[in-house]
């Protein structure tokens, strides 16, 4: 498994964990408020910091496990895989954002729009890493 494929696994798992953390926190806050909790800056900041820190730790672990591949540049296959996976992520992001905006037009709930848009960003990233893994394992 190449460094870039391991990186996709690590980032995908971190993004799933981050998404679970964010929405579990929002759900817990909403329970207390008895309505959908508004977006709060500290939660978003904590989410971003945790993602950044975990991704740095994850990449250090990958690099240490196989130092010879740690400085591998993206070759032509890596770039093709990244481009195709990015295409899928863009599609997911576009459809998700249109759905989120459609939801706003029906409910006029700004809090829901924020959480939906933020969630769609997370899902599109997860889709990108999942697509990379699939392309690395199948034919490109």
């Amino acid at each position: 498994m190449s460094f870039h494929e391991k990186s996709a696994w690590v980032m995908g798992l971190i993004m799933i964990a981050g998404m679970a953390f964010y929405f579990r926190t929002v759900a817990a806050m909403s329970e207390g408020l008895e309505q959908l909790a508004p977006p709060v800056l500290p939660l978003v900041v904590v989410y971003i910091v945790v993602i950044v820190v975990l991704s740095i730790i994850g990449h250090i672990v990958i690099a240490v496990s196989r130092p010879s591949e740690a400085d591998d540049m993206m070759d032509e296959r890596d770039k093709l895989v990244a481009a195709r996976a990015g295409n899928i992520a863009g599609l997911v992001l576009g459809i998700g954002l249109i759905s989120a905006l459609g939801g706003y037009l029906i409910n006029y709930d700004g809090n829901q729009l924020f959480h939906a848009a933020f969630g769609v960003l997370m899902v599109s990233q997860i889709a990108e890493y999942a697509a990379r893994i699939v392309y690395y394992r199948a034919e490109v």
């Binding site: 190449s2 070759d75 032509e76 034919e139």
Partner: protein, 72 residues
């Protein structure tokens, strides 16, 4: 999902004929990773024209001695 590329190759055979050149060494010679050489050998990836030329030049043979079209 993309279908398996219809291009066959003799990279593994040529590599073994050239003093059992390693996949990593071939990858380094043409500027790709070992995993990409593995994918080419397994028919999971068709290299760019530039890399195909580079591979054939490493082995000192023509392009068509390395790559072919499935079914030909």
């Amino acid at each position: 999902m993309a279908k398996r590329p219809p291009i066959t190759n003799r990279v593994k055979e040529l590599r073994e004929a050239h003093g059992a050149m390693s996949q990593a060494a071939l990858g380094e010679a043409i500027g790709v990773t070992r995993q990409t050489i593995i994918a080419i050998e397994q028919g999971r990836y068709s290299p760019s024209l530039e890399s195909a030329f580079r591979i054939s030049r490493v082995f000192g043979v023509g392009l068509e001695d390395v790559f072919g079209w499935a079914g030909d």
